[in-house]
Symmetry: C2
């Protein structure tokens, strides 16, 4: 049974901001499976800040997507056909399935997920890469202690909103940075952040000093650039700076330098980063806690779902413009 | 007995490079001691890169020197008079005694040193702040392991030359960065560095790749700026970047930003710094090892001694121009 696959391939490595022309949509019938392969029908595709990095040529923490290859993406879907003894037809899986209807996958890195207790889409969000990023980035790299002050940027984003909520559960004072009144209100009233800074309408440096007069113990950075530099000016002794992404920088052709890095030294602090792939072997720890916290109502989680694979390029642009509310997904 | 004190006071906070006019020499008789005070006759004064930071207004890791105050400096000398029961006349001590002949000191932070086994001046170098900096910066922050590759900048400087030699003792491959043929030759032939990069005559990035094809496990940074940024491009997985100073940056009015800090993240690395004051309580550990290593000939140590307090401003300028060979001291 040949199916008509619809997919987005990388047409060129972007320079600066992502353009629709960086991708080309193609259609072609699926080929026959070889031994060891499975055919996955994607149900949801995840849109993540890391995609911008994957679109560059060369290797950073993973190899970049090459011109002509299917755009890399995490997806969840159903096994339609299988020639791999580890997977059965009808099972639901999560993995790098790409921006396409149907993925032929060798099973490596493909994880079976149970969609009978939680929505399948959760495995791309709170129970997926962003959830692991927030969980291990905060708990393993940040090591929050009761009574400490945590600052998180892109706080209304998927990772940021989880980091803030987990930090609250750990007894921290949480300050979020987000853009616009709607997001800020959401963080304060819905998610229980102690303070929120609207970087579009407030002076971030002034507000950090106001809300964290004794300094920041953990700065969880999701944006890089000027906000990171500003946060460095306000570190408490022993501060941990956790770099998780640099969404403000991915699209920049010339990377903005970190001017205040000596503040890490004078604060006896540490700058470190998180590559979520390193934590896949410990995913169960995170899933147990996160699942429980959501079910107990201790953590709130929302999704922003766009329908139709054709909308992939514009939806990715929406992500980098910060226009999504919640975890951004394409539903196929 | 009133003595005529000669001292350098800070005349202004420098903008950019240190000028002779940033200091004024003054003479005045010493006053009588109050209870708890001692009078120290400085024999050697230490010239250290940290001095540039101390000359700025405001507080970084320590309070800056204020206009009209004696310039801060570490010194070693002899107790001439004492009204402090913890110190006896004739004892030799090390501490912050300032750029002056005679210091009146409350004893706080003043350490008795034994000049019968090693030259007194050593307590400003290998058995002083630079020695502690190298020892704990490398061993406690860098945590070198047998077979790892260590890159150190300002490698011919006091701290750098010790870091490289200690790293060799720990079984590491050591690459030094220094300026000029003479310094580079010294590091290779006298101190046993595995490779040396002459930043004045070679392209640092190319040479790092050549000498460390599998990347750098520890980068011990004494200079900041472009060399730091270049080193970040060549980190091995799990690299530790130890920031010890930023001598290239102290004199800059606009700090050069760190462009490649995301490489720390992709390398699963850590950037941390060293404030040597934090290790004073553990000084004995370092002294025992360093003293032994020098006596056994495992570590070589040299001093660059300039005579006469009047030469303080020009000698400090010499330090920042990188014209000294070995630990720079003023002999009074």
């Amino acid at each position: 049974m040949a199916l008509l696959n619809k997919k987005f391939i990388l047409a060129r490595h972007p320079v600066g901001i992502i353009a629709q022309e960086d991708f080309t949509m193609q259609q072609e019938p699926t080929r026959k499976l070889k031994y060891g392969e499975v055919l996955v029908q994607n149900q949801y595709i995840s849109l993540d800040p890391a995609m911008r990095g994957w679109m560059n040529s060369g290797t950073t923490y993973v190899k970049g997507v090459e011109i002509g290859e299917v755009m890399r993406a995490f997806g969840v879907g159903t096994i339609l056909e299988t020639r791999n003894p580890n997977f059965k037809k009808g099972e639901t899986v999560e993995g790098i399935t790409g921006v396409q209807y149907f993925a032929i996958h060798d099973g490596h890195g493909l994880v079976k997920v149970d969609a009978s207790f939680v929505p399948l889409s959760w495995y791309l969000g709170i129970l997926g890469m962003p959830g692991l990023t927030a969980y291990f980035g905060l708990l393993d790299k940040g090591r929050p202690m009761d009574g400490e002050t945590v600052l998180v940027s892109a706080a209304a984003g998927m990772v940021g909103s989880l980091v803030g909520q987990i930090a609250k559960l750990k007894g921290c004072k949480v300050i979020g940075i987000a853009g616009g009144k709607e997001k800020c209100d959401y963080l304060k009233t819905e998610l229980g952040f102690d303070a929120v800074i609207d970087y579009k309408n407030e002076i971030v440096s002034t507000k950090i000093k106001e809300y964290a007069p004794s300094g920041i113990h953990i700065y969880f950075d999701n944006v890089g650039g000027e906000i990171l530099d500003t946060a460095l000016l306000n570190l408490a002794i022993g501060a941990r700076v956790v770099i998780c992404g640099a969404i403000s920088q991915y699209n920049n052709t010339s990377f903005i330098g970190l001017k205040n890095y000596m503040k890490i030294v004078t604060a006896r602090g540490t700058l470190t980063g998180l590559i979520v792939f390193d934590y896949f072997s410990r995913a169960a720890e995170a899933f147990n806690d996160l699942n429980l916290w959501v079910k107990e109502g201790k953590i709130k989680y929302r999704e922003h779902i766009v329908e139709g694979i054709e909308k992939f390029p514009e939806t990715l642009q929406m992500l980098f413009a910060g226009k999504n509310n919640g975890k951004l997904l394409l539903k196929l």
